[in-house]
């Protein structure tokens, strides 16, 4: 990473630091302060959008570790979210567990199901693995619909809001704090997981599977670990989503979402923690734009235009990024920073 002029790394700690200079720390603190005081200046509607963005960030961090770092492409991420969501939902709704006990169970359940569907990854890769994860998505949703006695099937499942003692996270602002705290924690964990031994193994597997195996990396263990970690994030996100809506249905986890999460990763930039945030925020805002523009188009053109606008635009965004900026917004951001650092000389 390029450092500002006059700053040099003189110790290992400095070399490894994510935030190297005081300015970077200051920017981070200002951002966090702004984020955690935002219920003061934003309306409930914007808080809802931000909460959903936070939940999606958690989920896509998991996908980024799985797909961006370990190159195990998954198009069943919404299905794994559904596992976490229903685990937590059933534990709280049927057994009366507290949310705080159900959340780790949801994460664990999603991780274990992820390992189960990750098993084919030991033998296959690329397209074959994509098919296995697509199959996971559809099989999970089908199973949820079949076990209607405990999951509520197509009717859905009413889920309580989380609470600490007598305090219930009922208002938008309180849930916003809960989600943002977990999202910040998830970002911190995701950023650091890829700096550990496991993360370096993931990157080696991504860059060349055979070479990694020859170097002594246990492919079997690390691929399943990547699936486990990726799906744990998905499970947490799924649980947070249903407890936010206070209702769980399979419609919250459509196949399209799984695709769209990958789209966020492409737009943001694969294998970059900052990229996840860029991708999720920009595409969620795009979705909001469609929500605003769609009804106008429906009046102006045809009633179905609103529905089709969302689909066409989502497709076009991915197409445009794949052709013109395959490295995503994170790469653009690096270029902007480099330009700022080097101006007025280009070297």
């Amino acid at each position: 990473m390029a450092l500002p002029s006059g700053t040099f790394n003189q110790s290992y700690d400095q070399d490894m630091a994510i935030f190297r200079t005081k300015t970077q720390w200051l920017i981070l603190l200002v951002f966090l302060a702004f984020l955690f005081t935002s219920p003061l200046y934003f309306s409930d509607r914007i808080l809802t959008i931000l909460t959903i963005i936070g939940i999606t960030v958690i989920s896509v961090h998991g996908l980024n570790i799985l797909t961006g770092y370990c190159n195990q492409i998954s198009i069943g991420h919404a299905g794994f979210m559904a596992v976490g969501a229903y685990t937590s939902g059933m534990l709280t709704a049927h057994l009366g567990w507290s949310f705080w006990a159900a959340l780790p169970c949801a994460a664990l359940a999603a991780g274990l199901v992820g390992i189960l569907f990750g098993l084919p990854s030991l033998k296959v890769k690329g397209f074959y693995l994509i098919m296995a994860t697509i199959a996971a998505q559809f099989i999970i949703i089908w199973l949820i619909l079949q076990f209607r006695n405990i999951t509520g099937g197509g009717d859905g499942l009413a889920v309580p809001r989380p609470e600490i003692g007598d305090f219930v996270f009922r208002s938008k602002a309180s849930y916003f704090y809960l989600v943002m705290a977990i999202a910040c924690l998830a970002t911190f964990v995701a950023k650091n997981i890829v700096r550990t031994r496991a993360g370096r193994a993931f990157i080696a597997i991504r860059d060349n599977e055979l070479a990694a195996e020859v170097m002594g990396i246990n492919l079997w263990a690390y691929k399943l670990l990547a699936f486990f970690i990726g799906c744990v994030f998905a499970g947490v996100a799924g649980a947070l989503l249903v407890h936010y809506v206070a209702f769980a249905t399979v419609d919250q986890f459509p196949f399209m979402n799984s695709v769209w999460y990958l789209g966020m990763l492409i737009v943001g930039g694969m294998g970059s923690t900052t990229g996840v945030i860029f991708g999720v925020v920009s595409l969620k805002l795009l979705d909001e734009l469609v929500v605003i523009v769609g009804p106008m188009l429906a009046v102006a053109v045809a009633p179905q235009a609103a529905a089709s606008l969302g689909l066409i635009m989502r497709g076009l965004v991915i197409i445009i990024f794949l052709i013109f900026e395959p490295r995503g917004l994170a790469h653009r951001w690096q270029m902007v920073k480099a330009y700022y650092r080097l101006w007025p000389f280009s070297h």
Partner: protein, 296 residues
């Protein structure tokens, strides 16, 4: 017994259509190494084109079929030139995401143009009835079998006895050698996409005649993937055999097991995915596919 045979026969007809769709997928994969997730959406577009030409414009069947094929050819050329060619040399994920994005755009376009509603054109296709003992084969299914068989034979002839077929087989073998032999690889890519589109659209018209058209029809593409994986990802013959197998098994399983399941079943929709998982775990290269050997 009659029930069983009835299930087998309708499964066979369905399986032929799956095979047809799967062949389109295999051709693109063999020639340009691209996994085409949008194959099912070609089918959906085909169904809607069939509706437009047959019902809205009242064209005779053969004219409609030719018109739909013409549209499919233009579609194939545009897709290859505009979206896939810039991605030559990019990783697998980029190409797959591109076809997924294409699928999304098609879904949006179909919703915009045809309103995303259920459309049916029963009885517009010519009626043929065949009765064997107590079994009756619905005419749409019979037409499906006939058209699928004809298309498969045409494709086989195209591959075996024509120059462009030879070029396509050679490209599947080794791109660099083909280029140095003076064959334009981009033309071959374009041709493979055109064939896939045409085959998908024909499948769509047949399926539309059987069960009507809606946007969700593109799910049939996912079934075609099960077929492709089972048959071996680079084998056209395998696609045909596996297509029939998946069609029959799906129908029989749904016919017998659906009444036993709590939420009314819907097994026919998940069955292909169960096949996918089993195939991937136990025989990843499929029944007739080649085992890939990797080197560093």
């Amino acid at each position: 017994m009659t029930f069983f045979l009835q299930l087998v026969i309708s499964g066979f007809a369905l399986g032929m259509v799956y095979a047809l769709i799967a062949i389109g997928f295999v051709i693109i994969l063999k020639c340009s190494k691209a996994f085409n997730i949008a194959q099912g959406h070609f089918v959906m577009i085909g169904g809607y084109l069939g509706f437009t030409f047959l019902v809205t414009f009242h064209l005779p069947v053969w004219v409609s079929l030719l018109a739909a094929i013409a549209v499919a050819i233009v579609m194939g050329l545009l897709i290859e030139r505009l979206t896939l060619r810039p991605l030559v040399g990019q990783p697998v994920l980029a190409v797959i995401m591109m076809t997924i994005a294409l699928a999304t755009v098609f879904e949006g376009l179909a919703t915009l143009i045809w309103g995303g509603e259920y459309k049916a054109y029963h009885g517009v296709l010519p009626t043929l009835t065949l009765k064997i003992g107590e079994l009756s084969i619905p005419s749409e299914m019979l037409i499906g079998i006939i058209v699928s068989v004809v298309v498969v034979i045409i494709l086989m002839i195209l591959f075996r006895y024509t120059k462009s077929g030879l070029a396509m087989r050679a490209t599947a073998e080794d791109e660099q050698v083909v280029q140095s032999a003076g064959i334009k690889v981009t033309t071959v890519y374009a041709l493979s996409w055109v064939i896939a589109c045409v085959v998908g659209v024909i499948g769509g018209i047949i399926l539309g005649g059987v069960s009507g058209v809606m946007v969700g029809m593109s799910q049939v593409g996912l079934k075609a993937f099960a077929v492709v994986l089972l048959g071996g990802i680079n084998s056209i013959g395998g696609a045909i055999v596996a297509g029939i197998m998946v069609g029959v098994l799906e129908n029989v399983a749904a016919g017998y097991l659906d009444p036993l399941l709590p939420a009314g079943g819907g097994l026919a929709n998940v069955f292909p995915f169960i096949v996918i998982i089993i195939v991937l775990v136990f025989r990843p290269h499929g029944l007739f596919g080649l085992v890939e050997i990797e080197r560093i």
